[in-house]
Amino acid sequence: MYLVHRKLKWQSFIRNRGCIFLNLIIILLFNCNKLPLGEDELEVRGGFATDTLRLEIFVSSTEFKNIPVGTSQNLVLGKNDIYESRILLKFNFPDTTYSGLDEIKLTLYRNTLFRFDTISIGIYLLNSDFTEGEATWYEKSNTEPWQNPGGDFEIDSLRFCKVNGDSLIVWFNYIDLSKIMNSKGLILIPHSDGFCFFHSREGGKAPTFKVVKNGVVNGIPLGSDCHIIKADTTPNYWEDWLGSGVVYRNYVKFNYDTTLDSSKAIFGELTFDLEHYFSYRDSVEIGVKYLIKPFTGFDSELGPQIALKKFSLKDSTFSLDIVRYIQRIIDHPDSNFGFFIYLSPENYDITNIKLIKGSHNLKVGFIRPPQER
């Protein structure tokens, strides 16, 4: 009886105290709290005075360039009163004599991340070769311009059609096939206002050209796909723009403040306000790269990307942390060459954002860092 009573007493003790012991063991073993005990000891290494300041803007402007967009994940087809974009395609036909085909069709797959319009287009035969990674509205390769800006193609169209739905499918006949095989490729040209965005080969769902014979489908290998863009109006350099497709980079430079000397930057909060935009998507990614040499225009030599953030285009103010730029100019005040703000990737689509002039703000949080041992 005594033993049973004693056993029960122990069980009760373990039940009641078990949780306390368990917690104690967890605390001991897992080092779990983050109380600032002993924080005064940090003072043997420094005072850690913290402050914030706003740097004064020295200059802001816009640089633009019509860059090749052949490596874009999208193929953009459309036009409005500012832009026009055409798609170039080249398929490598392995057979020169096709016969008995049941179906010949070209398919482009729409990128559903973008809004789209119903537009009329024409498909034409190219009579000049082009280089996918180098072609622009004005040049078919790095070394050769088009005879006619926007591509050299046959005046007579191969097909007229409307783009609607999740994909663009165009059927051809034998005569068309023969012409396509003998041409330098196809060019898709918009005839009405509006835009459509298709996946490119880099986007993972490349355009296809298929021939069907007796129920057997043969895909023709895609040689090249790209789009070329023109912009009829471009920003004034004193305005602040960001743009992709036709690339607008916003160059900004702030004056260095010697208060920052020998300090450690904790944040560099760059903000700027949106005035208006043109885009077929709801959000954009904005990046920042600083200049590693003095400003020489669009092609100024740039360092690595120091900030990248996704924003909704419904936002009126954009904010990015460019602390790496701040720390660089603290460490090397004579290397304050400014930085570019840009849309990333710059060849993704056609988007532009106008920023409110004078809205750029750079707030820096910094401390006096500890001394070494």
Partner: protein, 307 residues
Amino acid sequence: MNALLLSLISASVFAIEGFGEERAIFQQTFLGDLKTARIEFTLNPEFNLISEEKKFRCLFWTNPFYLSLKVPVYKGLSLSLGNLERFNQVYDIYSERELLKIYTKSRGGIEEVYLQVNQWLNFTEIFFRGSFLFGSSFEVWNYTIGDYTIADTFSYKYKGQIYSAGLKVLFLTVYYEGLGSIDMERSSGDTTYKLAQVIGFGLEKDVNTWDYSLSLEHSVWIDRNINRIRLMVEKDIYSFSYNYNPWYLKEIKEHRIGLGMGIPFKNLGKISFDFNGAIRTKGNLWEFVISPQLRLTLEEIFSRRKK
């Protein structure tokens, strides 16, 4: 797993200053028995409990594994080789100051590898020890203001040497450690520091199967002198010790007691369990240290092989 281990490793908050926590104090360099070979393995985990104004924070870490090897050479001449941790620079501190939060942690320290010669001459034992010091440490400082966090790193490399010699006549010992310097390599440049000179005196006496020993150390740093004391009582397999160890860093005082038990194994050696408890204080800050130590000494095996 590594992340978990790293999260467990933390130590004295006071190690943020200077070279960190000095660990090579009261080193027993007189071997007594110079006739048998001996190899010793020591594991020394440590639990720290920091207390300030009735708040507590627990930390746990494990000291490096120590090895000591002693080989008798010729007529009372013995050679020893081993490693120790000279300075420990591991710490882990959180701080909150208005908008700024700081979390800093450090890993590493200064290690010592020594080579020692002991010679027994009638009632006298002398030793000479040369130590190579080396090591590295790095500190990560994380600063947070609001949603912004940034990290900064300091790294250090160390290389140096120190020497010591001593004499034991009957129950009296005297030893000296000096000529120590260490090169510290860091981003702001390399610096050579002189290490403290230490002179130590000891007294050992057996009274009715009780062994008493008293050690005094006077350590001379550039900016201050320190006096340490150690008292030890042993009987059979049990031992008790008390150390008073004011640090070379200002205002830090340490009191340490140790309870030990050495279980001999015939023809094998000894397994020792030491339970050390220490209190370190600096102003309102208290640090409680619990440091169990496990030591495996193998010596009979070597002597048996010698036969």
